[in-house]
């Protein structure tokens, strides 16, 4: 029995960070991220930035799949829309609008566009569910990438060869290093998680959860499926669009092949591994998806050295090791890593009494 989280008022119960552990964790993470931004080497910054970019998109998928119960295999498309929209906006308005305020206009534009297209892609969710919905959303990925690659749109999208992106300029501060960009990604990433955490304690969030648990019952309770399913699609697409916008700021060039089906699957895989419908699920999932291949690569490299034959063997072995690890995770804990950490934290909280 956890008895350390006493809440003496409704106000305390409604807070986003509703106990001291959560507060300590969030403030601790802010300090750690600040220290990391200042002290980590370029490679660590690159990996952390990749995690941050993926995290924002996975938080978006979590709203749709984790909280609303709607499966999507096409959210890579919204990341692409965000990345291309922010770059095209910059290219079109460079010279017309001051550079220092450009991100304040281009990013909301990209997010709004992704949300708008998210609503369109979400329309089939009113008719189909489960695997059928997954297949209909899958088409979004193919259609968006197909359109980006078309020669007719190439003057804006760059077609197959992609676009060189712009360095973001925030009120005169040019974020032209990976370290500065990581600072921005970390702040936005943290804000995204808090927004998602906040969302689920609102009327809208509770409606999402009701739809996930039983959509017929939710409708009988007066929840409009049309309104809330599409809202969920819009919010999740908006998060993915935000991730895409930062992606375009982070990488010096964007290519259509960066946003293909692989990305959509990676987003869903990260969510499943981390834990669906949990605030920290995307964080754990992204750490596993990005870090584990790197750790395996470094470990195998240290063991096998630089021999050419070993380099050839190492690459497929890394893939196999990663695949096996995912299978083991899912077999041992289908509810994701969040469930494992919950169990550990519960045990720590009750120690030395009951465990598990």
């Amino acid at each position: 029995m956890i008895n350390a989280n006493l809440k003496a008022s409704y106000g305390a119960d409604e807070r986003v960070l509703d106990n001291r552990y959560k507060q300590g964790f969030v403030y601790g993470m802010i300090v750690l991220l600040a220290l990391f931004t200042m002290g980590a080497n370029d490679y660590a910054i690159l990996i952390a930035s990749k995690m941050g970019l993926l995290l924002i998109a996975v938080v978006g998928i979590n709203v749709l799949t984790g909280y609303t119960g709607l499966v999507s295999l096409g959210h890579g498309a919204f990341v692409a829309i965000g990345a291309y929209a922010v770059t095209i906006f910059n290219n079109v308005f460079t010279g017309t609008l001051p550079a220092g305020i450009m991100p304040f206009l281009s990013v909301p534009f990209a997010v709004a566009l992704a949300a708008g297209i998210g609503i369109v892609v979400g329309l089939p969710s009113l008719r189909v569910k489960g695997l059928y919905l997954a297949v209909t959303t899958l088409s979004a990925n193919f259609i968006v990438i197909f359109l980006i690659e078309q020669e007719v749109f190439a003057p804006w999208t760059g077609g197959m060869v992609g676009l060189t992106t712009n360095v973001p300029n925030i009120l005169g501060w040019e974020l032209d290093t990976k370290r500065e960009m990581f600072g921005l990604i970390a702040v936005v990433g943290l804000a995204t998680i808090l927004m998602a955490q906040n969302l689920i304690r609102t009327r809208v969030g509770r409606a999402f959860i009701a739809i996930r648990d039983r959509d017929y019952s939710a409708e009988i309770l007066g929840i409009s499926l049309l309104r809330y399913k599409l809202t969920s699609f819009a919010i999740s697409a908006a998060f993915c669009g935000l991730s895409g916008a930062l992606f375009a700021f982070f990488y010096a060039r964007i290519l259509p092949e960066q946003f293909e089906l692989n990305l959509s699957l990676e987003l869903v895989a990260a969510l499943i591994i981390g834990g669906m419908g949990r605030t920290m699920g995307p964080v754990f999932g992204v750490i596993i998806i990005v870090m584990v291949p790197e750790v395996i690569k470094i470990t195998f490299g240290a063991i096998t050295g630089d021999a050419a034959g070993m380099a050839q063997l190492r690459a497929p072995l890394q893939e196999i090791a990663f695949g096996l690890l995912l299978v083991v995770f899912l077999l041992k804990e289908p509810l994701g890593i969040n469930q494992i950490t919950d169990r550990l934290l519960r045990a720590a909280n009750r120690w030395p009494f009951a465990r598990g």
Partner: protein, 401 residues
């Protein structure tokens, strides 16, 4: 010794030299690193796995020759899976973990374009790659990246000129729906028009698992005398030619560098018959068996026999390996020129020396001495495959564009 102004200055200079020398010696690293990303998994794993031993051979031979200014080199190989973002992460990792990295070898057009804007300041590194993409030969925009041969546009120019010389009047372009496939098409269209050759079909296909009967039917409807295939490595191009022959088409097929590998042509011939006979294409380099006038090839062959016994590399170096070796040799030459001047190796100095390579004897890779122009070497020769001898043999002189 009487101390006057002159002797004081001379003594001071000598003392500075004596005290300064160990500083210079200390500044010189114990090794230089040539890092690389290769597709050891993914769609082009066959190529990556054949190229990686060539890189290790290169390391051994360069070190036999004294490395770079007496400092040995070490090569590192990371898998990219042919994903540009993974290759970029590999590059960033190498930057962060290998302080003595002097050159990088990338593995795709996508990666080279993705990394290009990042090559500035401390992140700049001399960079060769497996790509012959036309955009990469642009020293004004990016002085650090270079091509170890002609661009795809140059290769298509050579093919079109050859078609024109053979009296051809119509051509079809069949290409994979990738950046690699589309690269020379627009240029090829214009060049064909200049030469008076009519482009009767532009057909894009999937890079793998293309719908062969549909594409062959379109080719038949176009009535093209010649067909240029672009953007394929191990698959699609042999199936297209096989499909056309089954259909009874007399079209002559031509390819560019990545569609000219003997191992693939031999395998197709062994499994499906001799229909690739007469297939021709552009090769910037001699094939490894054409080593009579290529002392570098003879040295490689001796090494391969010893080090790669029992593997496909024992008696043959794939064209993909030759390209990597040519690229790395050019890079090492530039780095050696910097070192020989007694200067510290930087990306800017290396790029400057690379751009200045002129009439350089590559040991037989190309038809003769080569000159780096616009960060590429615009020479090549047309080779034709003979299914009976299973050899690609020259069917043109060395052409420079």
């Amino acid at each position: 010794m009487k101390l006057n102004r002159r002797s004081f200055l001379a003594s001071s200079a000598a003392a500075t030299a004596v005290m300064g020398t160990p500083m210079i010696l200390r500044a010189q690293p114990s090794e230089y690193v040539v890092a690389s990303s290769l597709p050891l998994t993914g769609p082009f794993a066959t190529a990556g796995q054949l190229v990686s031993p060539a890189l290790k051979m290169f390391e051994a031979l360069v070190n036999e020759d004294g490395g770079i200014g007496g400092v040995p080199i070490r090569t590192t190989i990371e898998d990219s899976g042919y994903v540009p973002a993974k290759a970029l992460a590999n590059y960033q990792r190498a930057l962060a973990t290998e302080p003595n990295m002097v050159m990088y070898y990338g593995d795709s057009t996508g990666f080279m374009k993705l990394v290009a804007p990042e090559l500035k300041g401390e992140n700049a590194t001399l960079m060769g790659s497996t790509s012959f993409a036309s955009d990469l030969a642009n020293p004004a925009e990016n002085p650090y990246q270079y091509l170890p041969g002609p661009s795809y546009e140059d290769q298509v120019d050579i093919l079109l000129q050859n078609i024109k010389d053979a009296g051809g009047t119509t051509v079809a372009f069949i290409f994979s729906n990738t950046e690699f496939g589309r690269d020379p098409i627009e240029h090829g269209r214009k060049r064909a028009e200049e030469l008076g050759i009519k482009v009767v079909l532009e057909e894009s296909t999937k890079p793998q698992g293309a719908d062969i009967p549909t594409h062959v039917t379109k080719l038949a409807q176009s009535g093209a005398e010649h067909c240029i295939l672009q953007g394929y490595v191990t698959g699609v191009w042999p199936q297209l030619i096989g499909g056309a022959r089954q259909f009874g088409l007399p079209t002559q097929f031509h390819g560019t560098f990545w569609g000219m590998e003997k191992l693939i042509a031999d395998r197709v011939t062994a499994e499906a018959g001799p229909f690739l006979s007469g297939y021709s294409g552009v090769m910037p380099y001699r094939y490894s068996y054409d080593s009579a006038d290529a002392p570098a090839y003879q040295r490689y062959a001796a090494f391969q026999k010893k080090a790669f016994a029992g593997t496909p590399l024992e008696n043959y170096m794939p064209t993909w390996g030759l390209q990597s070796l040519a690229s790395l040799n050019l890079g090492i030459e530039a780095l050696r020129r910097v070192a020989n001047k007694g200067e510290e190796i930087t990306a800017d100095r290396a790029a400057e020396e690379l751009a200045g390579i002129s009439d350089f004897d590559m040991g037989g890779f190309f038809g003769g001495p080569v000159t780096m122009k616009d960060n590429k070497i615009g020479t090549g020769r047309v080779y034709t495959y003979d299914a009976e001898t299973t050899l690609f043999t020259p069917s043109s002189d060395w052409l420079t564009v």
